[in-house]
Amino acid sequence: MMLREQKAKAVEKILKRYPDRRSAIIPLLWLVQRTAGYVTPDGITEVAEITGVTLTQVQEIVSFYTMFHQKPVGRYLISVCDNISCSLLGAEQLVEHLEGRLGIRAGETTANGLFSLQTVECLGACNMAPVMIINETLYPNLTTEKIDQILKNCT
């Protein structure tokens, strides 16, 4: 019940945007994720109820998009591009470096809940390769030094 109660206005606003309720599934899931940190099972149930679809239909969408998290993630979600342009310019080494610094493997979250690390597909920023995104900020032309600097600022 949390979404409709806590975020009643936001839900209303999203629903108004679309003639068909189903179209609101993704924005509503996004709202769930921003509120709870990830897409919670309760959130899925609620989105299904609001939009009149089955739980399976919502889950299909959640699991299709990697930007929806099905498990809690750290405060800083580091997404490193490992597609061709970035790889040619050393993305693999950057991932290794991050893994070493954070003490976790890609796909994991640090014990203190501060960092999550993942590799992602092309971020559409090949001209600035290699790149990564932390939460919603893009960091271009990376080197290991730059990464250390960036991590220092994350607390």
Binding site: I44, V53, T54, L55, T56, Q57, V58, Q59, E60, S63, F64
Partner: protein, 892 residues
């Protein structure tokens, strides 16, 4: 019917496929066009009943003038098109596609249950390559618990989405889905829960590979080792043809009917004849431990098994004594509507010509003679068929939870409505919420207002004006609480339909309303005109057969309007014995007279109807008072426990015979096993009983019984029982003959044909020559006054009161006791689907699972009466009110 669709259907297109010219309707896909001239295009994702996915790309064909190969499943034919299905390029492409599909496949055929009927195996033979170029690790998924009866092995999945589309489109809920993406795509349900719909078993047949297989059948046998028994499902009046796959007579699995392919019978993976889970999983009870296996004579001592001879003699002796001492009217006969036509015919012959009484009936589940009279009226005015839905424009369903009474009939109706081939209208105090999603309009009303609503509709339609008058519309609105548009559109649909059928569920018409409602429906049908027909749906498999064979006190076998002639014909057929023409008692009267001691001897053929009686105490009281009770049955029950002689009979897989379904189709039941131990085929038991009573039946074989019965129907069936069997000339279509119990008998040589054009009301007989013995008392319809919600009820197919309730396989699919609540009432109670609610009715407290749906009318709630213990027998003349309360913290 929409004009566009009609014109579209009529324009044709000519094209060539592999050099052969053909003409097909515009809009046909190449794959179907090819099939129509016997050219098979390999495919996985395409299925004729489902929407087109175009994902497997195995159906690639070459089309002249197109630069690339095209998928035959989603390219419609065009005038002058030249298609090639077997060129080198096409073969090459198929080999390539197969390599893709097999790249991640585990190739575990030796341990896969699909082996032998797998489409992946089949096309690998034609287009597979012996090696793989895929070097990486194959992807692997964990195996969840999933559904109680459907096994899932995701590694074998080729993601054709047939299962997903079936659940979404046909079963009506998107419960299965494709999760993740790319290489990690997999099939499943949310949280790996069950595939929760009553048609779910069909995904097993639809899956072209071994991903979805049957759990009860898992590792039981290889399909080619099994014997295929083509027969008909014994569970409901939809009357689906089915194939039982048996080994040593034991049913291993049940599927839709098989088809002949290259001289071999195979399961058709493109079958559109879906069956429900009850038929698929519930037929395995032949070898049940609790079966009756030996005849029993009960003399107040322990039940020692006796020989058949002793048992038959004891049974006959008691009956003879009562007949001699008290006259034949002191004996009565109650049959089960699940017995075959042949058994029922012999049973009533036993009653009428051997004992000499018309006290014979099949309606042991009815509580009052009034409702029995309504049943008689309903059955004798039945003439509707839904066989060829393309010939019908409008279907009105009154008070019928068709999904839970005759699931496949519901499925066919919903499909037709979904594809806009028919206009579906729903009416009454309890509508089928599953059908409601595709209904054009529905009207709901309180149970005591039904006849008024039907009458008002009748009046509105009867008027000559093109538009319904506002006064009529207002009356209907007042009764139904529906909006103006809804009422007007419903009336317009009814009036403008060129042909239509009124379907109604007889199990939801209570005694005090029954006759009135049926009367009103007949009047409405007459107002709508001769192009409209009535179709009462009895949940029992062979209620129509019981009616047609004269297993009813006020009905003779096959009789139309002229009973005098039928009496004479029967007398000459049955060895010139004069038949007693005194009125017989209907089942409710038989029970009453038995408890009064007037009826002293009773023969029961199958006790399942009696077990559904709303007042079990009344049945027990009646049976206890009897001097002599003979029961022929397959399972022990409260009835067999009271019997003086128990004769163990045969179950549906152990006997031959025929059934007639709700729509009047005759279907052949085939024997694939022997009855267990001493149990015998019922028709032989009846013959022995007759013989012991001094009349030898002249039938050598069951065929003779069938032939005699069919000769009483008009016109007679041209086939013998033998010819209706799988390889016989009458076997071309799965259900071969179409009969209306009262006046028609259609035989369709090999193919269904348009019956709608021959719709005409049956002669409106009220079986005049055989008066009902009981004076008809009409109690005015009432509902208990006071606060609370009105309780209504009906049995469901999946309930526990039938043989199907014995199947251990079906146990996990049986719904937990539930109560349907209308959304408006649910809101007041703050109840959601899945919540536990407490029902209070006087002293009674029941914990039920809430289902919030449009089924019950606002102000009413509905329960499946054979899932709960409710003293409903006290409420035969007035409907009870109940209080509901949400039970906090409990989820059911």
């Amino acid at each position: 019917m929409p004009d566009a669709a009609t014109t579209q259907k009529t324009s044709n297109v000519t094209l060539t496929i592999d050099g052969r010219s053909l003409t097909v309707p515009e809009g046909t896909m190449i794959i179907e066009a090819a099939k129509s001239i016997g050219i098979y295009i390999p495919h996985y994702c395409y299925h004729p009943a489902l929407s087109i996915a175009g994902s497997c790309r195995l159906c690639l064909v070459e089309i002249k003038g197109m630069p690339k190969l095209q998928i035959a499943c989603s390219i419609p034919v065009k005038e002058g098109m030249e298609v090639f299905t077997n060129t080198e390029e096409v073969k090459d492409a198929r080999i390539g596609m197969m390599e893709f599909l097999l790249a991640n496949h585990p190739l575990d055929c030796p341990v896969c249950d699909r082996g032998g009927e797998c489409m992946l195996q089949r096309f690998s033979v034609d287009y597979g390559i012996a090696h793989t170029r895929f070097m990486d690790q194959k992807r692997r998924f964990r195996k969840p618990q999933f559904d109680p009866l459907i096994d899932i092995e995701r590694n074998r999945c080729i993601l054709c989405t047939r299962c997903v589309r079936f659940c979404d489109e046909i079963a009506g809920e998107h419960v299965m889905g494709v999760f993740n993406r790319g290489e990690q795509n997999y099939i499943g349900t949310y949280g790996d829960g069950p595939v929760s719909n009553i048609f779910s078993g069909n995904v097993i047949d639809l899956c072209p590979v071994g991903t979805l297989t049957s759990k009860p059948f898992r590792f039981q046998a290889r399909v080619w080792e099994l014997h295929q028994l083509q027969t008909t499902c014994p569970y409901c009046a939809s009357g689906c043809p089915v194939t039982c796959w048996t080994r040593d007579g034991k049913v291993c699995r049940t599927t839709p009917p098989i088809r002949k392919d290259k001289g071999k019978y195979v399961l058709d993976e493109d079958t559109t004849e879906f069956i429900c889970n009850q038929g698929r999983f519930g037929l395995d009870i032949g070898h049940h431990a609790e079966r009756l296996r030996h005849p029993i004579i009960r003399n107040n001592g322990p039940d020692a098994p006796v020989t058949w001879d002793e048992a038959i003699q004891a049974a006959a002796q008691g009956l003879r004594r009562i007949r001699n001492e008290h006259g034949p009217q002191a004996v009565a006969f109650l049959a089960s509507p699940s017995a075959t036509c042949e058994e029922l015919y012999l049973f009533q012959r036993l009653a009428r010509s051997v004992i000499g009484t018309n006290n014979i009936d099949w309606r042991g589940h009815l509580a009052s003679p009034d409702i029995a009279a309504a049943f008689s009226l309903a059955m004798s005015t039945a003439n509707g068929m839904l066989d060829d839905l393309s010939e019908i424009e409008c279907v009105l369903v009154l008070n019928c939870d068709l999904l839970h009474e005759a699931p496949v009939t519901a499925l066919k109706l919903r499909e037709a409505a979904r594809k806009a081939n028919i206009e579906l209208l729903l009416l009454g105090h309890h509508i089928d919420s599953w059908l409601a999603t595709h209904a054009k309009a529905y009207l709901q009303c309180l149970p005591d207002q039904e006849h008024a609503l039907i009458y008002a509709l009748d009046q509105a339609i009867a008027k000559a004006e093109p538009e319904p008058t506002s006064a009529d519309v207002d009356t209907i609105r007042e009764l139904s609480g529906a909006g103006k548009e809804t009422v007007e559109s419903l009336i317009t649909s009814l009036r403008s339909a060129g042909s239509g059928v009124i379907v109604y569920g007889v199990s939801e018409i209570w005694s005090h309303l029954a006759s009135t409602v049926v009367d009103d429906l007949v009047a409405l049908r007459n107002t709508l005109g001769p192009q409209w027909a009535l179709l009462p749906v009895n949940p029992e498999r062979n209620a129509s057969g019981a009616f047609a064979t004269g297993c009813q006190s006020d009905r003779l076998p096959g009789s139309g309007c002229d009973n005098q002639k039928t009496w004479e014909k029967l007398e000459s057929l049955w060895g010139k014995v004069p038949l007693v023409r005194a009125a017989g008692l209907s089942a409710p009267d038989i029970l009453e007279q038995a408890s009064l001691g007037e009826i002293k001897g009773l023969v029961v053929l199958g006790s399942d109807a009696l077990l559904r009686h709303p007042k079990p105490e009344r049945v027990n009281q009646a049976l206890k008072t009897l001097e002599h009770l003979v029961v022929i049955d397959v399972f022990p029950s409260s009835t067999t426990e009271q019997a003086h002689v128990v004769l163990p009979g045969a179950l549906f897989t152990e006997k031959d015979g025929t059934y007639i379904d709700a729509e009047g189709r005759l279907a052949r039941l085939c024997k694939g096993d022997d009855p267990p131990e001493d149990a015998r085929d019922n028709w032989q038991i009846l013959g022995e009983l007759a013989k012991a009573l001094g009349t030898e039946f002249p039938y050598q074989r069951l065929d003779d019984v069938f032939a005699e019965l069919m000769n009483l129907l008009h016109p007679p069936c041209p086939f013998t029982l033998e010819e209706l069997a799988p390889e016989g000339p009458g076997a071309e279509c799965p259900i071969r003959c179409i009969t209306k119990p009262s006046d028609r008998f259609h035989v369709l040589a090999g193919k269904y044909h348009a019956l709608a054009s021959s719709f005409r009301p049956t002669c409106h007989v009220r079986f005049a020559e055989l008066p009902t013995a009981h004076a008809e008392e009409k109690i005015p319809p009432t509902v208990e006054s006071g606060p609370g919600l009105i309780l209504t009820w009906a049995p469901i197919l999946q309930g526990r009161d039938h043989w199907g309730g014995r199947s251990p396989t079906m146990a996990p699919l049986r719904p937990s006791p539930y109560i349907e609540i209308h959304p408006s009432n649910a809101k007041e109670l703050a109840v959601q689907t899945g919540d536990a609610v407490e029902l209070r009715m006087g002293e009674l407290r029941l914990l039920l699972r809430a289902i919030v749906c449009a089924g019950p009318a606002p102000g009413t709630v509905h329960v499946a009466s054979n899932l709960v213990d409710l003293p409903l027998g006290d409420y035969l003349t007035r409907l009870p009110r109940v209080q509901l309360k949400k039970v906090e913290g409990k989820q059911t």
